[in-house]
């Protein structure tokens, strides 16, 4: 298809992009303590900085339809099956590369300040560097299995970082949940890979290379493709926290805030979107899968937005908002608009990272307080944080001329022009909800009267420059990144020209009449405006209309507990499974299976208990037996004659 027309060039530089963070990680593992907390952090940040520089250089070198390739060695070879450890960079990867290293670098810098007083700082940077390595592996791997390696690797880092403050068992439980739910998704992913490999293998093709696969897709039957893509999508559902596997993401907020920003907003959770885009040649010919993806994406977007409205934890709101935004991306994927999905991924990385880091700044200032009901009026205390937060909130709400506006609008317009009006409607309503809950948060935290607890109040301080500078950079990005993908009626999309070749012309932006497009945009903007107004009316002035959780009732209570999904899973899956396991471990295994084994022994023992009565210990009794046997032998002998 498309990949064959692109030029492939070898660039040995590529390997160093992921390897440098890995080296820094290794150095910190062995010498981190000796180097001291500060040096270790600086080293880690510098490593990511170097990767960023390299990524920029590669980006600059990369021609529009070109692919850079770097083979290290053959990783696994078994029979005809063969997978290389090799990296590739094309336009799509280049964007992901910049997101990962760029935002990763900023968050490393930020962490230098945020984690300054933490005992486990070295450990934190080890994990963070390891994460960058795996994330780069994920985006740069030139085959599906390497992608999977990165995929699992970032899951590991997510587990480690969510449970970073291990003293509190709750954090570790959240980490476990994240890892295990992801594993459930990965089960689908790996089965999808198996199905792909074996089906192609049956035709004599053994490959998982992204460069090779598109050529052979036509060998597969539509049903097989549908099954493969559905299985792969299960993996994406797990990693990108879609319905029904989203439950881990809100809990994952137990990790340090920079982690939430980097892993659970900007990069790792978007891996599912990246994967579907990377495998667009498989997904595109699977309409059934696509429609499921679209429905799940839209449902997740809406559902998570409703839950976000009721949350009181500053990070939980952002977490649900992330789930919701990821839903948008999958909505885009589902209608075949891969380019739009990646575009939203790109802009979302900036404003969501900015929001998380901003919330981190707030939490930092308030000595770890995360409950928005105990905030309010922080505008004057934290001016830089406030202004960056405002910009990012505008962006995520989709206020015109911010990044979020362009990317979200692109998705909605694609949905509309694709003819999926229901999906479009859900998207638009969700946009309104997004505006509402984000501004609700903004007002609750920064406006109104202060509800900060008295003992914290004297310590409120603006964060140091090492934290605010990344905020400012990200805030700038939250506006201007969107301008790359402006619609045709403005100045046209630089983005499409860059990314579209990767996806081929087949599913490019479908351009309807410009007037319709503007009209659709206006509808969205209007609904967003309503959302903002409602939030303003309800929360801006005083911020006092905050219902305590105990008094929550009705729909509010449903939303606050996110529809009791966790409890539902607990009831239908976790507890029955635990009970079965318990029965197996405590009844079945020791009593039935081992009982059978020991039963055989007991039967033998029973026989010998009877039989041993013959052993009286009396020699003369034994002699009787001896005699009897001798007689028997003699008589036998006589009968033979």
């Amino acid at each position: 298809m498309v990949a064959s027309t692109s030029t492939v060039a070898t660039l040995e530089l590529l390997r160093w992009i992921p390897l440098i963070p890995l080296c820094a990680c290794a150095i910190n593992i062995f010498f981190g303590r000796a180097l001291g907390h500060r040096t270790a952090g600086v080293l880690a940040s510098a490593a990511v900085g170097v990767s960023l520089a390299l990524a920029l250089y590669v980006f600059w070198l990369l021609p529009a339809t070109g692919i850079f390739h770097d083979l290290l060695y053959t990783w696994i070879e078994s029979g005809s099956f063969r997978v290389n450890l090799s990296f590739q960079v094309d336009a799509l990867t280049a964007i992901m590369l910049l997101v990962v290293t760029g935002i990763g670098f900023l968050i490393h810098i930020y962490s230098l300040g945020y984690m300054a007083h933490d005992d486990g700082k070295v450990r934190f940077f080890i994990y963070l560097n390891l994460f960058i390595f795996f994330m780069l592996l994920l985006v740069m791997g030139d085959n599906l299995l390497l992608l999977f390696v990165g995929w699992e690797g970032v899951g590991l880092c997510s587990y480690l970082l969510v449970g970073f403050w291990y003293h509190d068992a709750k954090n570790t439980i959240a980490g476990n949940k994240a890892f295990i739910v992801n594993r459930i998704g990965d089960l689908g992913f790996i089965l999808g890979i198996f199905l792909l490999v074996t089906e192609l293998g049956r035709q004599g093709i053994w490959t998982l290379d992204f460069a090779e696969l598109p050529k052979h897709v036509s060998l597969l039957t539509p049903a097989t493709i549908t099954l493969i893509t559905l299985l792969l999508f299960v993996g994406a559902v797990g990693k990108s926290a879609q319905i029904p596997l989203f439950v881990w993401l809100p809990d994952a907020m137990a990790g340090p805030t920079p982690v939430s920003a980097l892993i659970h907003a900007a990069t790792m959770v978007t891996a599912g979107v990246y994967m579907t885009a990377r495998l667009h040649f498989l997904f595109a010919p699977a309409p059934y899968t696509l429609s499921i993806i679209a429905i799940i994406g839209a449902a997740t977007a809406f559902f998570a937005a409703t839950v976000a409205i009721a949350q009181n934890d500053i990070k939980k709101v952002l977490a649900y908002s992330t789930v919701s935004q990821l839903g948008y991306m999958f909505l885009a994927v589902g209608i075949g608009a891969f380019s739009a999905a990646i575009f939203h991924l790109f802009t979302h990385a900036f404003f969501k990272a900015c929001l998380f880091l901003g919330s981190g700044s707030v939490i930092h200032a308030l000595d770890g307080e995360q409950d928005m009901r105990k905030m309010g009026g922080l505008r004057s205390y934290l001016p830089k944080t406030y202004w960056t937060y405002v910009i990012a909130t505008l962006a995520i709400a989709g206020v015109p001329l911010t990044a979020g506006f362009f990317s979200k609008d692109l998705i909605l317009w694609q949905a509309f022009s694709h003819g999926s009006y229901a999906l479009w409607l859900v998207g638009v309503v969700t946009a309104g909800l997004t505006a509402f809950y984000m501004f609700r948060q903004l007002f609750m935290v920064f406006h109104g009267s202060s509800r900060v607890e008295d003992h914290v109040k004297p310590h409120i301080h603006e964060s140091p420059a090492v934290m605010t500078v990344p905020l400012i950079v990200l805030a700038i990005g939250s506006i201007f990144t969107g301008w790359l993908g402006a619609p045709e009626y403005l100045w046209g999309s630089l983005w499409d020209r860059w990314v579209q070749p990767v996806f081929g012309g087949a599913h490019g932006a479908e351009h309807g009449p410009v007037t319709t497009e503007i009209l659709v945009t206006l509808v969205t903007v209007a609904i967003v405006a309503i959302g903002i107004y409602l939030a303003y009316a309800r929360y801006a002035r005083t911020g006092t209309r905050v219902v305590p959780a105990e008094a929550a009732a009705g729909l509010y209570r449903v939303l606050l507990n996110s529809y009791w999904i966790d409890e539902f899973y607990d009831r239908i899956a976790v507890r029955p499974f635990t009970r079965v396991s318990q029965w197996l471990a405590q009844i079945f295994d020791p009593l039935v299976i081992d009982g059978l084994v020991n039963g055989v022994a007991k039967v033998a023992r029973g026989f010998s208990l009877i039989w041993r009565e013959a052993q009286t210990g009396n020699v003369q009794h034994y002699l009787i037996g001896f005699l009897a046997a001798t007689l028997a032998l003699l008589i036998y002998y006589l009968r033979q004659l």
Binding site: Q615, T616, G617, N618, V619, Q620, L623, I624, L627
Partner: protein, 100 residues
């Protein structure tokens, strides 16, 4: 001449008597003596065969049996002494430590 069978029958009878002694007596010394009887019965058979086959081998075997019998009697009696010392009894039926 006395036929070979006569000797054989005689030794069978003596052997059986020895066996009865081992079986029924409750005195270890008599049990040992009964064993000597059995050995002698066997010896008689050997000698009878040696005579009728004209071979010295049977007599040599008897010589060895005697050596073994001497050793057996010595060890057996030593055991009897030490058993009697411990238990003040020579009744084999009272020695049942090796019961299951």
């Amino acid at each position: 001449m006395v036929p070979l069978d006569y000797y054989l029958i005689l030794s069978a009878i003596i052997f059986a008597i020895g066996v009865v002694g081992v079986l029924i007596r409750r005195n270890l010394i008599i049990v040992l003596m009964s064993i000597e009887l059995m050995l002698n019965a066997v010896n008689l058979t050997f000698i009878a065969f040696a005579n009728s086959l004209g071979s010295m081998d049977g007599q040599v075997i008897v010589f060895f049996v005697m050596a073994v019998a001497a050793a057996e009697a010595v060890i057996g009696l030593a055991i009897v002494i030490s058993v009697f010392r411990h238990r003040q009894s020579l009744d084999p039926q009272e020695m049942q430590l090796l019961k299951w």
